[in-house]
């Protein structure tokens, strides 16, 4: 009986969280939780707020710019002490900059890849260069943020010292995973209707879409896990913060949503057919050292979608690293913080000179 009431309690808490997120429009007006690592906003413009986290200890020469995905808030990268990507990297001597994407307002529906990469991301890189005094920066992209970082590296290779891509969706021709299957069967007209109806792709739509991919987990499984792990020190705190992040969906700018839909359907990035402004994105222009981290149990980005990266770029120094975890495991799992991030830090440190 106590199990049922305990799981029921967590379930109710989750339901209230979802209702609250629906009421407040998901990630737009919701506040981020208290950050683990202190930061300072050094630049704000367009849809970018650039946060700087000073390194703890001797500093590497090249600053590291983290590019997170556009669909949720980036506080997952600095969740709790001991499970914070930013904390781990600053402790390893990196001056870390994080792009905190500002959620698009209805008036921002015109923003597409060109504005996000050639304006916002380019400005963030420029601000990082000015603030750090470094000529080139290392980019670390996560999920869709990695795709944006890769496109930037292809268009502005002169500014990128190293590129680390985590769980990057690249080859869109695969459709084994539920996410790929459902995306493939959403027609262009449907995507246009979404944009015509709401201007931007609404946050609740993204939330509902991702919840649909694992219905049993989101309806029951995670609450049972919370009940069974409640006695583990710090588990519930991390669970609640992670849940808060899960509900931090933000809208996607209308044009960006349409362009992303086209990119997925035409697989144009790896075919060399994607254009931003007047320029075609040629991935062979990426010549910097590249580290490609793949989640073997990733159910959001098919590992086979990411693994092709080294074949598409012209870098001499490139390598795939597989990590036995899921999509978000790389950011929050204890194992990732014990093994993966020190390894990523070591790779970046070795490529600092």
């Amino acid at each position: 009986m106590s199990t049922i009431s305990s799981v029921g309690g967590y379930w109710l808490e989750g339901a209230l969280r979802t209702l609250d997120a629906l009421r407040t429009g998901f990630g737009v007006p919701m506040d981020d939780p208290e950050p683990t690592t202190p930061s300072r906003v050094i630049y704000e413009g367009g849809k970018v707020r650039l946060r700087h986290y000073a390194s703890a200890g001797p500093e590497h020469k090249t600053p590291l710019l983290l590019v997170y995905s556009l669909i949720k808030r980036p506080f997952i990268l600095d969740l709790v002490p001991g499970r914070s990507v930013v904390e781990s990297l600053t402790r390893q001597g990196f001056s870390v900059y994080v792009i905190d994407w500002v959620p698009p307002a209805p008036a921002d529906k015109w923003r597409g890849f060109d504005e996000y990469v050639n304006v916002d991301l380019a400005n963030a890189v420029r601000a990082t260069q000015i603030h750090s005094g470094a000529e080139r920066v290392s980019l670390l992209g996560y999920c869709f943020g990695a795709t944006l970082a890769l496109i930037y590296s292809a268009l502005h290779p002169e500014n990128v010292k190293n590129l680390a891509a985590l769980m990057i969706p690249l080859d869109m021709s695969l459709s084994d995973l539920p996410i790929d299957n459902l995306t493939k069967h959403t027609s262009e007209r449907t995507a246009e209707l979404i944009v015509e109806s709401w201007g931007n792709a609404p946050a609740w739509l993204t939330h509902a879409f991702f919840n649909t991919l694992q219905p049993v987990h989101h309806m029951l499984g995670k609450f049972v896990v919370a009940h069974r792990s409640a006695s583990r020190p710090g588990y519930l705190e991390t669970f609640r913060l992670f849940e808060r992040w899960l509900h931090s969906d933000v809208p996607m700018a209308g044009r960006m949503f349409l362009e992303l839909h086209r990119l997925v359907h035409r697989n144009s990035l790896i075919k060399g057919e994607m254009t931003l402004g007047r320029e075609t994105v040629d991935l062979r222009r990426v010549r910097c050292p590249v580290l490609n981290v793949i989640g073997e149990e990733d159910d959001i980005v098919d590992p086979r979608s990411s693994v092709v990266l080294p074949d598409l770029i012209a870098s001499a120094d490139k390598q795939n690293v597989s990590f036995s975890g899921g999509h978000m495991g790389a950011a929050v799992s204890a194992d990732a913080h014990k093994r993966l991030w020190p390894q990523i830090g070591a790779w970046l440190g070795n490529h600092d000179a």
Partner: protein
């Protein structure tokens, strides 16, 4: 969780062997339901085993059932037939939502005036008008307040000047009036509240004498 492995070049990462996993989960579930749970329950009845064993068997069955359900859901969601159906349904739902919004707008726009009710647009415009009127009222109130304060200030200043004039016109007594004595400008409580102490008195622009003015006009 396994240690990090480096993969060279385009070494393919194998897709999860879903079928093998499903078979394993089914076997686990069957074992838990048909062996572990009955044995644990029987032991508990015979007071041979404890609550813990039964709990563990229950959780084992739950875990296996959850994995089977997750696997089944993933298989359904990954099937092209379901994808096509979901895609079409979603497209239709969005299309219907758009159509519904457009039709409702068109139908009710003509229906409401017919039965003497205002349309949403009219209510909106009334709201805007009301909002505008509220703003105007707020602005007028503020202006009134400012005017009142100005009048009070002016009165206070005039009172101060009068007091000063009276003070200066009185027979001077060197011992009673020292140089350090402040000018009695800040006599009014309103002025004190506004912090208008020892401000120079402005008595208005000098009015030209009417006779001189007239004379000048005559000569011009």
């Amino acid at each position: 969780m396994a240690a990090l492995q480096r993969k060279e070049g385009n070494a393919s990462v194998p897709a999860s062997p879903a079928r093998a996993a499903l078979v394993k989960h089914l076997a686990d579930f069957a074992e838990a339901m048909l062996v572990d749970l009955p044995v644990a329950a029987a032991r508990r009845l015979l007071r041979d085993g404890g609550e813990l064993e039964l709990n563990e068997a229950g959780w084992k069955a739950y875990d296996a059932a959850l994995l089977i359900t997750n696997g089944a859901a993933a298989r359904i969601l990954s099937s092209p037939a379901f994808g096509a159906l979901a895609g079409r349904t979603f497209g239709m739902a969005i299309g219907l939502q758009r159509l519904n919004a457009a039709t409702a707008g068109a139908v009710f726009a003509t229906l409401w005036p017919g039965v003497g009710l205002p349309t949403a647009a009219e209510i909106d415009s009334m709201r805007d008008e009301l909002r505008g009127m509220r703003d105007e009222l707020r602005a007028a109130r503020m202006e009134m307040g400012v005017r009142e304060r100005l009048i009070e200030q002016q009165l206070a200043m005039q009172g101060g000047i009068l007091t000063e004039r009276v003070a200066w016109s009185e027979p001077r007594n060197a011992s009673s009036r020292s140089v350090e004595t402040p000018a009695p400008l800040a006599g009014s409580p309103a002025m004190s509240a506004m912090g208008l102490f020892r401000m120079p008195a402005f008595v208005g622009w000098p009015i030209p004498e009417p006779a001189r003015e007239r004379k000048r006009n005559v000569h011009n």
